[in-house]
């Protein structure tokens, strides 16, 4: 087993275990904080794949942004301590069916896709190429996404704005 394989399995273990905690934990706040390990593990995968820019983005956006927002949301929820998060197993059978279906679908896609293994080379600097792709070939979708985000931002600001009459 090579060193990178060891790292891969360690990362997999971290991601899976913390994801299990996210799903199974009864305390909402513990779930939220377990996401930290999940996100970091995924960032580790990116590093392993040589996509250092993506790894940094993963960290900045997910850990620095989304996770903090999530934790904020949880903390600001009224009487969060009283909440009982016991998952009831009422829909176990349909749930199992759905899970199995999704798994089969994903497995089919994974096995049937003609992965280009071994061909091509690892890009030495991903950052520059990502930049060129965003501002060149994919400029339109990139700009569309940014306008969408801007609209969401303005809308959020409008909603939380202090009303004059209140």
């Amino acid at each position: 087993m090579t060193a990178s394989a060891v790292v891969f399995w360690v990362l997999t273990l971290i991601v899976l275990a913390s994801a299990a905690v996210v799903v199974l934990s009864r305390s909402l706040i513990n779930s939220a904080f377990a996401l930290l390990a999940t996100f970091s593990g995924v960032a580790g995968f990116y590093v392993l794949l040589g996509a250092d820019f993506l790894a940094a983005v993963q960290f900045l956006v997910y850990v620095g942004g989304i996770l903090i927002l999530l934790v904020f949301g949880v903390m600001l929820t009224h009487r969060i301590q009283d909440l009982d998060l016991r998952a009831e197993a009422r829909q176990l059978v349909p749930g199992l069916f759905v899970a199995a279906g999704v798994f089969i679908l994903l497995a089919a896609v994974a096995t049937r896709t003609p992965w280009a293994i071994g061909a091509g080379r690892l890009p030495s600097a991903t950052t520059a190429e990502i930049g060129r792709a965003f501002l060149g070939k994919y400029l339109l979708p990139f700009e569309a996404a940014s306008i969408l985000l801007l609209v969401a931002l303005i809308g959020a600001a409008l909603i939380v704005r202090k009303r004059e009459d209140a």
């Binding site: 250092d52 850990v63 620095g64 903090i68 904020f72 903390m75």
Partner: protein, 397 residues
């Protein structure tokens, strides 16, 4: 790490007998150990200096009892902190309570991985070095929130909320003004950013596009000040309002870890500022880069970082603290527009061929202004020292 690997290869027979992954791991561990020593011993010095500085500014002596001139005071304090009982209040969320300070320290410590102390003395030269430092900072934020929540204390929670809001807000102007530097250097790699500033003080990014980059520097420095929770942005631990903010309930070693993280973050942030704007390990004069054939880049970087740390301390003992809404006002309505403006203007200037390498007057401002500034600071220091000496003389007489 590269330097360490090269050292290993000097050992006869090393390359043949030791597998590559082992020597890389060993080099990584050694480098990490070096940084760990630096960060754990650094605060001992900083705290002493900070206390003495505070004493000087406040017209008193500072620590004087333990050791000559109180030199051993912080060591004694460290020992005390290490041996003190770590108290866990009854209703804390114990796992999170323990993990939180570790996360904060890790977040501060990981910044060292990319700090370039010299062309070879660097953990690793990431392509996205500058970006990495910003990204890793969010780990500390999560740690702070965790600490505030786990403490089960309203003041701690307030501190955590404040610090999260503050760090997230100030990251934006910091990144924006960082982009200015990245655009000029054309790279995110810290090595290349430093390389672009080599060749003397007038090449530093601080003096590029003369008045513009100075503004970018001020924006970035202010934002780092806020991200380190230092006065006037120390509202997360504002001791007069929130008792001690997020570390209200911590004691002993866990408290020491927060302390350690704060001072480490201060150093990392200052080092980043000096890498981005003050030429990093590049000496102000190329002649001073080597002494007797040895590259003294690390000395320059550390000296510049410490000078900025000194400014942090200076501000702390001079200014009152802002209120939370004023703090947000500064971030969103002052720093962010300035940073955006700078990005647009400098981006435009860089695309124009006439100003792609900076304004024509750039080389003429760096030296005189630096000399003026240094002269003024020295004069002030001299006056302060003479005044202090007179006070002491009068007290004795």
């Amino acid at each position: 790490m590269d330097a360490l690997l090269r050292l290993f290869s000097l050992i006869p027979g090393w390359d043949q007998n030791v597998p590559a992954w082992a020597s890389i791991s060993l080099a990584g561990l050694l480098a990490a150990g070096l940084c760990l020593g630096f960060i754990s011993l650094g605060p001992v010095g900083y705290v002493y200096v900070e206390r003495k500085l505070a004493g000087f500014m406040q017209d008193r002596l500072g620590p004087m009892r333990v050791g000559p001139w109180g030199l051993l005071q912080t060591i004694a304090d460290t020992i005390k902190l290490l041996f003190k009982e770590a108290i866990f209040p009854a209703a804390v969320n114990r796992p999170l309570f323990v993990v939180a300070p570790c996360l904060v320290v890790i977040g501060a410590f990981m910044g060292f991985a990319v700090l370039p102390f010299s062309p070879t003395w660097q953990g690793t030269d990431l392509d996205v070095g500058a970006f990495y430092v910003i990204a890793i900072g969010s780990l500390s934020t999560v740690g702070l929130i965790m600490a505030g929540w786990a403490s089960n204390n309203k003041y701690a929670l307030f501190g955590a909320m404040r610090s999260a809001a503050q760090i997230v807000s100030y990251e934006i102007p910091a990144v924006m003004s960082l982009i200015v530097v990245v655009m000029i250097a054309g790279s995110l790699s810290l090595q290349q950013i430093v390389a672009a500033q080599a060749g003397g003080l007038h090449n530093w990014f601080l003096w590029k596009f003369f008045p513009l980059n100075v503004i970018a520097f001020l924006v970035f420095f202010t934002a780092t000040l806020a991200e380190c929770n230092r006065t006037p942005f120390d509202i997360p631990e504002a001791e007069s309002e929130l008792v001690a903010g997020f570390h209200t309930e911590y004691s002993g070693f866990f408290f020491a870890m927060f302390f350690l993280a704060e001072y480490t973050e201060m150093f990392v942030a200052s080092a980043m500022v000096s890498v981005l704007f003050l030429g990093g390990f590049a000496a102000p004069l190329p002649v001073l880069q080597t002494v007797a054939g040895f590259d003294i880049g690390p000395v320059w970087l550390i000296a510049k970082a410490w000078a900025l740390v000194f400014v942090h301390m200076w501000l702390r003992w001079t200014l009152p603290r802002l209120r939370v809404d004023q703090l947000m006002h500064v971030a969103w309505k002052v720093l962010l527009p300035i940073a955006l403006f700078l990005i647009v203007v400098i981006g435009g200037l860089l695309t124009a061929p006439a100003t792609a390498g900076g304004f024509p007057w750039d080389p003429w401002f760096g030296w005189p202004l630096t000399a003026l500034l240094c002269g003024y600071l020295m004069l002030t220091a001299l006056r302060a020292w003479r005044w202090h000496a007179r006070q002491v003389r009068e007290a004795v007489a």
